[in-house]
Symmetry: C2
Subunit: 154 residues, 2 copies
């Protein structure tokens, strides 16, 4: 397949029905991707995909994203071994968000901090201020050992 997708139909009912996949990219050419673990539904991460990342994901069955910080295609897990095999792809009503249900290889971890999920903290109000509290501090790998001096997320 090519890396382009057809334009969204102007008819809203058609956009919301079965038929052509017409992802609605934002001004930066991106759609939001929500990634959950197929085995128990845990939310692992949120990322962004451009048309090329979406095409690579559809064609290879391995999750590819677009790294905004590094401005390039990002094959998740290429360094850490924590590749994501896509078991199912869903799209929402207005086709501007994608849901990937994946199996995670390697350390069974997705966060660059070594934790299973990027969402390892809760947010709550304490004395009128919003604070974060770590609820999962289990590290499945050592980020420094895995990434060395490479910055940021992988």
């Amino acid at each position: 397949m090519s890396s382009t997708f057809p334009p969204a139909p102007s008819d809203k009912k058609e956009l919301e029905a079965s038929g052509a996949f017409t992802p609605k990219f934002d001004a930066h050419g991106l759609v939001t991707a929500v990634i959950t673990d197929i085995k128990d539904g845990e939310l692992l991460m949120v990322a962004h995909m451009n048309a090329q990342a979406l095409t690579l994901t559809l064609e290879t069955g391995i999750a590819h994203y677009y790294s905004r910080s590094r401005d390039k295609i990002w094959k998740k897990g290429e360094t850490s071994g924590n590749l994501q095999t896509v078991q199912e792809i869903r799209v929402d009503c207005d086709q501007d968000a994608i849901w990937l249900k994946v199996s995670v290889a390697g350390h069974d971890a997705t966060c660059h901090t070594g934790r299973r999920s990027c969402f390892y903290r809760t947010v709550s109000l304490q004395d009128g201020k919003a604070v974060t509290t770590i609820t999962d501090d289990t590290r499945h790998f050592d980020p420094e050992e895995t990434y060395g001096s490479q910055p940021g997320k992988e």
Copy 2:
């Protein structure tokens, strides 16, 4: 609490630890919100929140978003009765995405089409083309009856 949040710490380790909630709003003043059902973890919708929506959500325990199409605060379910009571809020490693675990009132439905989840379609390749297929077509309410002539999502 006020509708402002402290700036993100410049130290990445601090940003990723317990402490101040410092949501990283994008150029439009928004963070991505992922909403799942507390009862079984089903992904219900993806939306956006500005500082005011986040503050209202924290203070009231009822999910508020920012509607980009209507350019205003959106108390989800105000028309349909499908209000979302927030049971837990999580934030990801770089604090640019929020996860709300909610209980849905009313029809136990979140999508404006009447379905439980906005993600009612799968995406797959067929003859080299990406197509969508409806996997959940159960309508929990009649959108026309509920919204009348009101356009778009609610």
